[in-house]
C-alpha cells in the first residue's frame, strides 16, 4: 500500500511533463488595439479625483476630522466664553431681579 502511494505521488509530480502550451484566443492584438483606442486620456484632474477617491485618503480625512473635533472640544475653543459665565459676573443690566419690576408690581400700582 505504502509503495503504491509513493508511486502514485511520483506519477502525479511528473504529470506536467510533456505538457503542451495552451493556445490563447485568436485576435488578441485586435482586441488590444480596440481597448487602447477606447481608453480615455487621463488628465491631471481625473488623476487627482482618482487619488481622492481612494479608501486610504477617505480614512485619513475622517480620522483628521475626528481628531480636530476632539481637539476643539477638549480645548473649549468652540464656546470661548462659557467658562466665565457665573452669577457674580453678569452685568447689572442683565440682572432682571434688580432692574425690572415684576408683572405684579406694574398691575398693583394703586394702593
Amino acid at each position: 500500500m505504502h509503495d503504491k502511494i509513493t508511486q502514485k505521488i511520483a506519477a502525479v509530480m511528473n504529470s506536467l511533463d510533456g505538457m503542451q502550451p495552451a493556445e490563447p484566443q485568436p485576435y488578441l492584438l485586435t482586441r488590444l488595439k480596440a481597448r487602447l483606442e477606447c481608453a480615455p486620456e487621463q488628465s491631471t484632474w481625473s488623476a487627482i479625483t482618482a487619488f481622492i477617491k481612494t479608501p486610504a485618503v477617505a480614512f485619513v480625512s475622517v480620522l483628521l476630522l475626528l481628531l480636530l473635533n476632539i481637539a476643539v472640544f477638549s480645548a473649549g475653543g468652540f464656546f470661548p466664553g462659557k467658562k466665565n459665565i457665573s452669577a457674580n459676573n453678569i452685568p447689572a443690566k442683565y440682572d432682571f431681579t434688580v432692574n425690572v419690576s415684576g408683572i405684579y408690581d406694574i398691575e398693583n400700582q394703586e394702593p
Partner: protein, 189 residues
C-alpha cells in the same frame, strides 16, 4: 491614440508592440493560466499585461531581458487578480449562509495542454499547487510549465539563485506532503 501609433511604438530593444504581442502572447497566457487556473481569467490577465507593456514600453531599459520583464508583469497581474477574486469570495455572504464547502468553491482545473492519460493526475497536482505559499507556487510553475531554469526564475522574481533553488525544493517537498495526505485518505486499489 490610433492603431498606427500602437504598432509604431518601439521599445528600447527595437521590437515593436505588434511583434511583442505576437511572439509572447502564448508565454503570457500560459504563465497566467498556471497561476489563476481559469481560462477566462487568464485571457483577462493576458490583455491587462499587454496594456501595461504598451504603457511602460517607452520607459523600458535594458536592466532586464524583455521576456523577464514581461514575465514579472504577468506574475504580478495574475496574483493581483487572484487576490481580488479571493477578497470577493471572502465577502460572499450567501456562500457562507448556504455553507458552500471549499471543494465546491475551487473547481477542478483541467489544463488543455496536459496529455490525455495524465489529466486526472495533473488536476490533483494543480489543486495541490494552489495551496502552496505564493512564492513557492510561482517558482514551481515557472520552472515546470514554462520550462525556465532556476537562474531565469531568480531573475523574474528578483531573488538570488540560491533563494530560487530553495523555493523549488520547498515547493516539491510541500507538494509531496500534501499528496501523501491526500492519497492516504483517498487512494483506491
Amino acid at each position: 491614440m490610433n492603431g498606427g501609433e500602437i504598432i509604431s511604438s518601439i521599445s528600447a530593444t527595437g521590437e515593436n508592440f505588434t511583434g511583442i504581442v505576437n511572439s509572447r502572447q502564448r508565454m503570457v497566457y500560459n504563465t497566467a493560466l498556471g497561476i489563476v487556473q481559469n481560462a477566462e481569467d487568464a485571457e483577462d490577465v493576458t490583455q491587462e499585461v499587454f496594456i501595461k507593456v504598451y504603457e511602460k514600453l517607452k520607459d523600458f531599459r535594458h536592466e532586464a531581458d524583455l521576456s523577464t520583464w514581461i514575465y514579472r508583469i504577468t506574475v504580478t497581474t495574475a496574483l493581483d487578480l487572484e487576490q481580488q477574486k479571493s477578497r470577493q469570495k471572502r465577502g460572499g455572504l450567501l456562500k457562507r449562509v448556504f455553507g458552500m464547502s471549499e471543494a465546491e468553491d475551487t473547481p477542478q482545473f483541467d489544463h488543455p495542454g496536459v496529455l490525455l492519460d495524465k489529466k486526472e493526475d495533473a488536476a490533483v497536482l494543480f489543486r495541490a499547487i494552489r495551496k502552496l505559499p505564493t512564492s513557492q507556487r510561482v517558482a514551481f510553475l515557472l520552472h515546470k510549465t514554462e520550462g525556465l531554469s532556476n537562474s531565469e526564475v531568480a531573475a523574474v522574481l528578483e531573488i538570488s539563485l540560491q533563494a530560487a533553488e530553495s523555493l523549488q525544493a520547498r515547493a516539491r517537498e510541500n507538494l509531496r506532503k500534501q499528496l501523501a495526505e491526500y492519497y492516504t485518505k483517498h487512494y483506491k486499489q
